[in-house]
């Protein structure tokens, strides 16, 4: 089996399996432990405060956004592009189509190209923040740089592959590898915040909500 077929087939299955399975396990663990040890969550459960809390932070309607306009803009651009680009990239759409005979919207290639550059630019900004702001540096660990690298790698290699810089085949294989690596590490690292964000916000929203105070 060629390296391409390996990355395209079994390893991709494995990556998605670990990613989805891992997140499911994390959620199950959260619920089983929380029913035993986090009774306040259930005692003060409230859909209203749950959604209000999530809503105010999934759009920049909060004090932090007001106070840090630049970081907020970069953060939102980074995250939006990070989610949208891989899902609606035409080339990825072709892969879904070839494998599952399904297809959906795709972005114009030039747009996707710019979005990739935005991700890389924002990633560099976040790295510079870590390096130069003392209060970010103090909480930064090697893992933070590593995870930022793991997050950016698929985008950098994807960009190179699209423009066919360097050896196309090698870059493409690297791109596939890094994409799968990112999926695999998500459930085991802080990258799991893509999902746990909602749990965390919900818990805090309800905790503040029961005291009639906003958490945004």
């Amino acid at each position: 089996m060629s390296l391409y077929e390996l990355l395209r087939g079994p390893l991709l299955w494995l990556a998605f399996g670990v990613f989805i399975g891992g997140m499911v396990v994390r959620i199950i663990l959260f619920f089983t432990l929380s029913t035993k040890k986090d009774k306040p969550i259930y005692r003060f459960f409230s859909w209203k405060w749950l959604w209000l809390s999530i809503f105010h932070w999934i759009v920049p309607l909060n004090q932090t956004a007001k106070k840090n306009p630049i970081t907020t803009t970069v953060g939102f651009l980074f995250h939006i592009c990070l989610l949208v680009t891989p899902l609606f990239l035409l080339a990825h759409g072709v892969l879904w189509y070839e494998s599952w005979d399904i297809s959906w919207w795709s972005l114009p290639e030039s747009t996707a190209d710019y979005m990739t550059l935005i991700i890389i630019g924002c990633g560099i900004f976040l790295a510079l923040r870590r390096i130069f702001l003392p209060y970010v540096r103090v909480v930064t660990t090697a893992a933070d740089y590593l995870l930022l690298g793991v997050t950016l790698a698929p985008f950098v290699t994807g960009y190179l592959a699209y423009h066919q810089y360097f050896d196309y085949n090698t870059v493409l294989l690297l791109h596939m590898f890094f994409g799968e690596l990112m999926l695999v590490v998500i459930p085991f690292t802080k990258l799991s915040h893509f999902l746990m964000f909602f749990f965390s916000r919900a818990v805090t929203g309800m905790e503040f909500g029961r005291r009639r105070a906003p958490s945004w």
């Binding site: 391409y4 609606f88 035409l90 795709s106 114009p108 290639e109 699209y162 066919q164 493409l172």
Partner: protein, 152 residues
């Protein structure tokens, strides 16, 4: 680019199989898959499809690519396949503009031209390479090479 239809932004063609041929001598050697009535905007170069290579060197039968199905059977007769013949090109049937497919059992003729090309080329190339036979490219950049901008 056609407004409102992201799909039409798509890149450009890939190799196709197609094409006419009543008579092998009359075969075009390379065919540029670049139907500008469909691919109104291109961000990737059009594919140059080495038609001759496929039946001469690879020994592929015309009917392995040219098809019209009835009751599960390909009813295309080789005599129908000549340059300019009705139904010889992929685009004579694959005219659908929107490529949304969420049910895999959707009518195959509903495929857009791009999807038809991709399925025909990549599908076959991957199958051959999995069977460890000599095969063609399966990744985007090989069929749509950046530096070899085509003009036709």
């Amino acid at each position: 680019m056609r407004r409102g239809h992201f799909l039409v932004f798509m890149l450009i063609l890939i190799i196709g199989s197609l094409l006419l041929a009543v008579n092998l001598d009359a075969q075009p050697e390379d065919i540029v898959l670049n139907d500008q009535s469909v691919f109104t905007s291109r961000s990737r170069p059009a594919v140059e499809f080495p038609h001759q290579l496929h039946f001469d060197d690879a020994g592929i039968e015309c009917r392995e690519c040219h098809h019209r199905f009835k009751d599960g059977e390909n009813i295309v007769d080789e005599s129908e396949l000549y340059e300019g013949a009705e139904g010889v090109k992929c685009s004579s049937c694959h005219k659908n503009k929107t490529g949304f497919r969420f049910k895999p059992d959707l009518d195959p003729t509903k495929r857009t031209l791009r999807q038809a090309y991709h399925r025909m080329c990549i599908g076959c190339h991957r199958k051959l390479s999995r069977d460890n036979e000599k095969s063609g490219p399966v990744t985007c950049g090989v069929c749509h090479p950046k530096k070899k901008e085509t003009k036709a």
